[in-house]
Amino acid sequence: MVKKMNDYIKDFPILNQKVNDERLVYLDNAATTQKPRAVVEAVTNYYYHDNANVHRGVHTLAERATEAFENVRTKVAHFINAPSKDEIVYTKGTTEGLNWVAAGYGRNHVKVGDEIVISYMEHHSNLVPWQQLAQQTGAKLKYIALQADGQLDMESVQQQITDKTAIVALTHVSNVLGVVNPIAKIAHITHQHNALMIVDGAQSTPHMKIDVQALGADFFAFSGHKLLAPTGIGILWGKSSLLAEMSPLEFGGEMIDWVQLQKTTFKAAPWKFEGGTQNIAGVVGLGAAIDYLEKIGMDNIQAHEQVLMQAILPELSKIKGLTIYGPQEAQERTGIIAFNLDNLHPHDVATALDMEGIATRAGHHCAQPLMAYLKVPATVRASFYLYNTLADGQRLVEGIKATKEFFKNGTI
């Protein structure tokens, strides 16, 4: 399987280069992924042959652009098993999707005394919008605790979600710990208390088959650029009944039904949320990315990352002074590994790895409350994707060893 997956590397021209005189090993996929030729060409072809504004022209190009734009909606619905393409809203990314739910739905429905439940492992984009909503409405923001290995504490889930809970907003996969949260179970508890289950799918959608219905989600948001598509395009899925009750946040062209001097009626969802000219080329690129992923098969991608983790985690664990955050068992996580080396600051480690051609991220990963919870200022993060190989994993292991040797007396 790994061998077959390695064939896909040639589809990614960017990977074929040297960085600091070493073959590039790109392990910053949780930040953004590289783009295959098929995606870049789809965007180029759109601009070369079909570019026009959607929904308004009567000419042939406008019809072609509109058809491409709306076809991707159907493709996305199928990709995440949404019941209807009309529940697929284009956004610029996960952050926008979550903010729209908090502001467009939350402000109309959350009242003083209500509770919003999130967890300590949330990315700032699934934390700050709810914190803002809580401040604006007088609701209380509550946090689900984590176990020592970074998994959600299910007892805390039971305690924190109550009849006062209006919204439970959780990440499907942690962008730091790589842990996969049991969303379906938590959604069941959430619905028993008549609350809504909102899911941040930024780190799960690129790596596993998503079924929003099986997850029991009410809203689900993800980004295109983390699954091979261009930056600036994302998806918010919501149940039709909820999208109908959610207010648009951007008013203007495209989203209106009838504008009079003193009042305006809006189109139905999803179009009422899509004010102004949309990122049409981004949508076309997202469609090509989904085609590419489905050709490989999401289950194969997940299996490939498991093979990598099962090979790399034990090698990393052997390095003395290396701490891996999150569950230690490969099957409990995706291809994200956050780690630190004793007496070394993660920034120094990431700079050293970069000198060896290995791209990782160092910092708080937009999860400062989680860093505080783990009692570390920051970590190094290596995140793998379908085009990474066992050799890449070995390069990481060797790179870390060389870094340790270089700073053998420590830096902090």
């Binding site: 600091n20 070493e22 993660p346 700079t351 200022p377």
Partner: protein, 157 residues
């Protein structure tokens, strides 16, 4: 290349300053105190300055950070003692220019041992680590005019 280029950044003196930083801790008498954060990594730096007769009489820093930020803070504290706010402003500008690759004839005279951090210019991702302490001292001694810093350290905001 592997790690050989790293030695341009992690010079022995830098590693020593980071391991045993000078003026680390807090002051008994403080006229200015400032806390700055590097938003990209979450590092926090607290700086205390005692001004006397228009000059820095004593200084101390605390907080956590990478080798570059700790060494830079340590070297900065060595260099600014006895200097006036106007001199410090000139030093901060010289430092900011040095780490972005613009050394002049005056750089070494103004910055002393801290000139060794010039290697940071080859590592653009680490410029913010190096400038944090200098930005802090600039704001601390010019607390009434801290907005000016935003223009001064333009690569840093």
């Amino acid at each position: 290349m592997a790690l050989s280029k790293l030695e341009n950044l992690y010079r022995q003196m830098i590693l020593e300053h980071a391991a045993h930083p000078h003026h680390h801790g807090s002051l008994k008498k403080t006229s200015q105190k400032i806390e700055l954060r590097n938003p990209t990594c979450g590092d926090v730096l607290t700086l205390e300055v005692e001004l006397k007769d228009g000059k820095v009489a004593d200084i101390a820093f605390a907080g956590s950070g990478c080798t570059i930020s700790q060494a830079s803070a340590s070297m900065m504290t060595d260099e600014v003692i006895g200097k006036t706010p106007a001199q410090i402003a000139k030093m901060v500008v010289a430092f900011s220019e040095m780490v972005t690759g613009k050394e002049t004839d005056e750089t070494e005279e103004l910055l002393g041992d801290a000139t060794i951090l010039a290697g940071v210019a080859q590592f653009p991702a680490r410029i913010k680590c190096a400038t944090l302490a200098w930005k802090a001292v600039y704001q601390a001694v010019k607390a009434d005019d801290s907005k000016a810093t935003l223009g001064l350290l333009h690569h840093d905001v």
